[in-house]
Amino acid sequence: MSDVVEKTLTALPSLLSLDSQPGSAKLSSTSKLGNLVRGITELTSKHEEEKLIQRELASIKEQVSSPNTSMRQMKELMVRAIYCEMLGYEASFSYIHAIKLAQQGTALEKRVGYLAVSLFLNESHELLLLLVNTVLKDLQSTNLIEVCMALTVVSQMFPKDMIPAILPLVEEKLNHQKEIIRRKAVLALYKFYLIAPNQVQHIHNKFRKALCDKDPGVMTASLHIYLQMIQENPEGYKDLTASFVTILKQVVGGKLPMDFNYHSVPAPWLQIQLLRILSALGKNDQSTSEIMYDVLDESLRRAEMNHNITYAILYECVKCIYTIHPKSDLLEKAAKCIGNFVLSPKINLKYLGLKALTYVVQQDPKLALQHQMTIIECLDHPDLIIKRETLELLFRITNAQNVTVIVEKMLDFLRVSTDDYTTIDLVGKVAELAEKYAPDNEWFIETMNTVFSVGGDMMQPDIPNSFLKLLSEGFDSVEEDRKLRLFAVDSYVSLLQGEPGKLPQRFLQVISWVLGEYSHLRAELQPSTVMRLLSKLLDTKNTSSETKTWVLMTMTKLCEGAAGVSVAQEVSEAYSSSLDTVLRQRAQELQHLSQDSELRARVVPRDAGLEPLEVDSSLSFLDGFVSEALAAGAAPYKPPHQRQEELAQAKALSLEPYGLSLPISISSCSIADRQSPTLLSMSSGLSGDSTDLSHKGGSTTLKLDGVKRVWGKEGYLAQREPVEETAQVEVPSPFRSPSQQAEADSSHSQTPTPVPTPEPTQERQQLASSLFVGLSSQSSVCLMGKSESAPQRFKRKAKSPSSSSGASEQISNSLVSAPSTVDNLLCDNLLDANISSELAVSSPTQTSRLSQSLTTANGTCDVELTNTKGSNPSLIRDISVAVAADSTPHEDPDKPKDLCLSSHLPAELSGFSHSEITPLCSNQSLDLSACHVQQKDSLVLVVFIYNSSYSDIQQILLELDSDDLEVSGVCGSPVQEVGSQSVAVCQYSLSVKRPSVHVEVGGMVSYQLPVGTPQSAQFSYRLPLTSFIRPLTLSTEEYGTMWLAFSHDTKQNLTLINAGHESLAATLNVLKKKLQLHIVEIIGLEGIVACRLLQDQPCLMHCRVHAGTLAVWLRSPVPDLPDCLMYYCQRALQEH
């Protein structure tokens, strides 16, 4: 009690002080915030609240701008402003005052100021620049609290361009004696790494120091950076695996201080972070995975307590075990663990169990079988989120046998779901499954009808596109094509006869296109009948003008005979005066073409769907027009980005200090005429070293004065051919893809029969058998393959336009669902996998048991063996099984390991330097390796296929694909066959589509052994962007012109190689040697350098020696290229 009295007494002074100060003089009823809160709670209507807040804001506004307001009052005002913003009212006038408060207040006021800044602004807000100096000052403060505050705000937001200004100070803090400062510094660097990875490349070894910090908090913080870096480039950090394992062992063993325990579980957040790192490191890497088996086992064992937190760890553990190279007994334990989740009565755990199951069924579909009854229950769960996750799981295990049931379930869900994102996602999945596994035409068309009606106008535009492509390109059998199209026509005609007004626009567009192309297939259907049905659409109010355009085009195709022509005339008359120009154009076309049947036959020939259209994409036929217009004084064309930039520049904050308007700086900055050289000028301003400007006498800077005149805002630009100007001219084509439609009008016109709700257990059993059919047999043959590679793929899945033999199709058909085939396939599989005789049993029950043991013995392979969806090469398109190869190291002992592959390098490439030959993938019969060869104007990827088996391998098909690169085959026909123990070589020419630091080519090889099933393997090959960089020779004047025209740039200060007077030249020579750059000119302290990215995408570099560093500025027309190149420059100079 006396304690209370004492406290009350000490509080008295503050109670008496008139200044209401939140946080201390709290009697909130008297504080202003208290009044505000109280006022709001007493109000009853939204309108009153708005009035009150507006009044409040007006009063805050008045006070903050008054010069008499003290910082202490300002702090209180900011708190109220934050409160108003939280209620949803804008208080942007206070932002600048928040910055001021952070700058000028005492520590406590500063704290509120920083908080307000971090709540008000986001990292792209331009006011944030004004905070830089405050942060700089506080980072240097002797008051630890101030340093902490600065680091806290920096870790949340900081302008990217200003990072170099504070980076050294933050780095310095890594050595601070207080662990809280070190920890925050690490997190600030993590933030920098996220927003500007190039800037912190050079401090990687400091991260290592943080990882070894004696304080567990600092070490934990460093793991955020490591997780990020390892996920991007696992190869670079394999050496740390053992350290991470040791740390995890210590944590799991309870070696950390008790403070880090959470509900008596040792440092769960740390454990989870480490597990994530380990799974990134162990993925596809057997030897690394082996290091972590023990600790994973221990983690599984230790996490026994029945608490959410242990389940969180278990979940991460299971994911890790299924991500890394498999180990059978761990897999078994993990599977059991998933069982605990799925069977848990707690709904959150059940959800996570389903999620885990979804993750692992890709590798082991059998697990879904074990839990089939739970899955069925979850399908009927009242909570939609559980249902949704279950569908996700079912999607992963869909095959040709269960597709109808699963799609039905998904469509049921779609009909009740109200969430747009879910609808878009699920509709896409249904369409994918329907295309892949459709059992027959009717089902396919009806399912797609539902997809179109439910998906409405928000679904991905590629769904209708690929559907139409599928219909128009057809499949292997002409008869099948005809049937499918006919069925579509019939179905659509009956839809139009119903209530077409309720259908979404996209669907109507699909319908009208299909009817235009294929309604002639139904002989008894008069074109005029179709036209009348369609004209009904035109009269419907809801029909968008885009759909009307489609309809008019369809009519153009159909208007035959007197009846058709009369409808056409009627319609075209109605629309020939439409306000919509496209519509009017179509109406005109319809009018003319309907009267001239000969011309019509030429313009819209029947069945022309597959004829490729030739389009002059450069619009060269307009060159004359353009040059005439230019001669007549028209303004030259500027690409949109340039226009925008110029516009933005007019508005943007000028970062250039006024002091720079010295004659010298004009010439040094003149290169950058178009944009202020932010970093260069700021860094000189920040370092306070203004004298360095005078070092550069006019004679030592680049002599660009002559050029400058030519560059003036118009200048050289005028001579560029502005052909793009007319690019919008539309090419009328029946293939106009349906583009986005704003108004959604989703309705359910076509409703396939709903499934009866399964109630009693018996029905559930039935459902289970229909859902999980094919899984068991599939899992026995497709051990590791993703479940998508199910037997019997719908035969019409024709992604590649010119499809191949119909023979393979028949094979696959005969294979499917005959009970004996499982055994046959398995036998083949066993042969391939070199498995000893004890496994060669053929009764179905036993095989499935065997397969189980096979799975656990082999686990997943290094090489992912699958029939991947989508991009399957046509050769194995229809073949049902992807066989897992035995990846364990007991391969043929006599296999020549050190094969001299380089001798197989094609003669024409031998003169060029090639990279080290690296293995891509291998299994018991094929070894793939690759290297790349840098030629003057190209980069060639050479893939060596070595057949290590004793039989010839046939039908080898190598498919390369890449997001970053354009891949094209070099020599004629690719390899088809490789003889026993010999090597075949494939060459591919690569060029960059989208620059990134490392570019990757993914690929798949599929082949056929003389005996056995087709096999496939995936691989990837990674190469640095520098392989694509070549010198670009050009004159200083050309450089100047180009510099102006490029819009993407980046700036950074790099290390200068110290060589006295020759520093710049020495540095540039290093870059020239390592990165193949061309040095255009060096004048005094500045140098200009140029290079190009194959094929012919220039990148220019401007360097200036400044305060002992090299200020580098890169520009290019290609996005990301400057950033990537900067990364390599930095590395090159560091390694030097």
Partner: protein, 191 residues
């Protein structure tokens, strides 16, 4: 290769921290705290808040604490009259996020002493300070309860006049806001 900030804002390929944002709101749908770890415009923030509050309040008590929302995962939990709601990416661990929320509530509880919604309304800046010591830039910064509170108290010590006991700072009696302890239903978690 990561995109630069300027391009990432246009094509949304920004590298995201684990947690994208955290919202606290009352049963009546009033926002009590908001922390955004990804840069968004005010308009977007308002839209997201409105949609989420609506969705979460419509959930029944026995339902799953996770939600799929746009391309994000929402993890929420109700403590007395307050809902705590976090957004993470789909591949993240929902359970650990749930425990992050719980740890935050524990920290608030320890700091305020039996925290209730009213404490958070009247001392929301304190709640923010605690959050910033616990989660920084969307990642768990310090998971030791002792260390977080130590950091906050050190900063608090700067206050010129210290020593008003928190019970004196309790808000007035007549307000129609819940003063039910947030941790009242999970007393066993109290340490």
């Amino acid at each position: 290769m990561r995109n630069t900030v300027s391009t990432s804002l246009t094509n949304q390929k920004l590298q995201c921290p684990t947690m994208q944002f955290m919202l606290l709101f009352s049963r009546q749908g009033k926002l009590r705290l908001q922390k955004w770890y990804v840069p968004l415009s005010d308009k977007e923030k308002k839209k997201i808040t409105r949609e989420l509050v609506q969705t979460v309040l419509a959930r029944k008590p026995k339902m799953c604490s996770f939600l799929e929302w746009r391309d994000l995962k929402i993890v929420y939990k109700r403590y007395a009259s307050l809902y705590f709601c976090c957004a993470i990416e789909d591949q993240d661990n929902e359970l650990i996020t749930l425990e992050i929320i719980h740890r935050y509530v524990e920290l608030l509880d320890k700091y305020f002493g039996s925290v209730c919604e009213l404490d958070i309304i009247f001392n929301f800046e304190k709640a923010y300070f605690i959050l910033d010591e616990f989660l920084l830039g969307g990642e768990a910064q310090e998971t030791s309860k002792k260390n977080v509170l130590k950091a906050i108290e050190q900063a608090d010590l700067l206050q010129e006049i210290r020593g008003v006991p928190l019970y004196l700072q309790k808000p007035p009696e007549d307000l129609q806001v819940s003063r039910e302890d947030l941790l009242s239903n999970t007393t066993n978690n109290r340490t």
